[in-house]
Symmetry: C2
Subunit: 168 residues, 2 copies
Amino acid sequence: MRAGGKRGRRTELSPEESVGRLLMKRGETLAVAESLTGGGLGERITRVPGSSGWFVEGRVAYSEEAKKRLLGVPASILRNYGPVSVECARAMAAGVRRRSGSDWGLSVTGVAGPGGAEGKPAGLVFAALAGPRIRRAWKQRIIGGRARVRRETVRRTLEGLRRALEEK
Amino acid sequence: MRAGGKRGRRTELSPEESVGRLLMKRGETLAVAESLTGGGLGERITRVPGSSGWFVEGRVAYSEEAKKRLLGVPASILRNYGPVSVECARAMAAGVRRRSGSDWGLSVTGVAGPGGAEGKPAGLVFAALAGPRIRRAWKQRIIGGRARVRRETVRRTLEGLRRALEEK
């Protein structure tokens, strides 16, 4: 049961709707950097009509080369920690923020499966956020098949962004 | 009814699965440039396990600025034809192909709605493909709400890519 849902608001807002309202109110912008979700983060964000007012761009860096070229992830981070690491997630978020000129940069990297990769298990996911008032990163471990890991990654990452924006 | 489906293959392949098989067989790679779909094209492509073997990167250029910065679309094209035009789709496909170093560049730009934009109606979509043996562009007019326009854009654009790869 959701507390106070019926009276307080007409409907519960999705995380991307909440994010959009918060950014619009502040006149701030967002860009995203994705790996295992392949574009799903941007796809869900842009379901919101009018998202062009606050969503600037997305960069889907599927390969290691693309992480370097598109997001400026240092080769040393990929060599020392690998693409599925909190260090890589942080570099991706900072990279897309800097290169897009957005106020907020959100990133996600991990193993969608099936099967592990880079010595990391399927469902291991790192997300990071770089913003004007905050740096944050979080680790997720999602149980399930490839489709569920990707879907849950998008949902939880947007929930993380909503929480951060509500706090700051 | 589908002719010969049961005997010839175990299941019908989705367009992204067909595309993946064709590219793998040839050792060729793909990158995508998206506007109105916000990442949905890359999301659907990377549903295919092992897509990292042939999918290099995606660039979601939602704003005009991002189309210039991320994809190298000339300002003159945006000024003369606007972002929802066959000229812009062609420049996006060529841009992502060139900048990613992929064999194939696929792009899509259009109006998701609700409501028109840039003097163009909702559901008007242009896709383009740049490859080693082909340049192609196609116009789509999709009837329906924002979600349907975006979903159908992804499906039809991937069907267009499959057809082109099968021919060439």
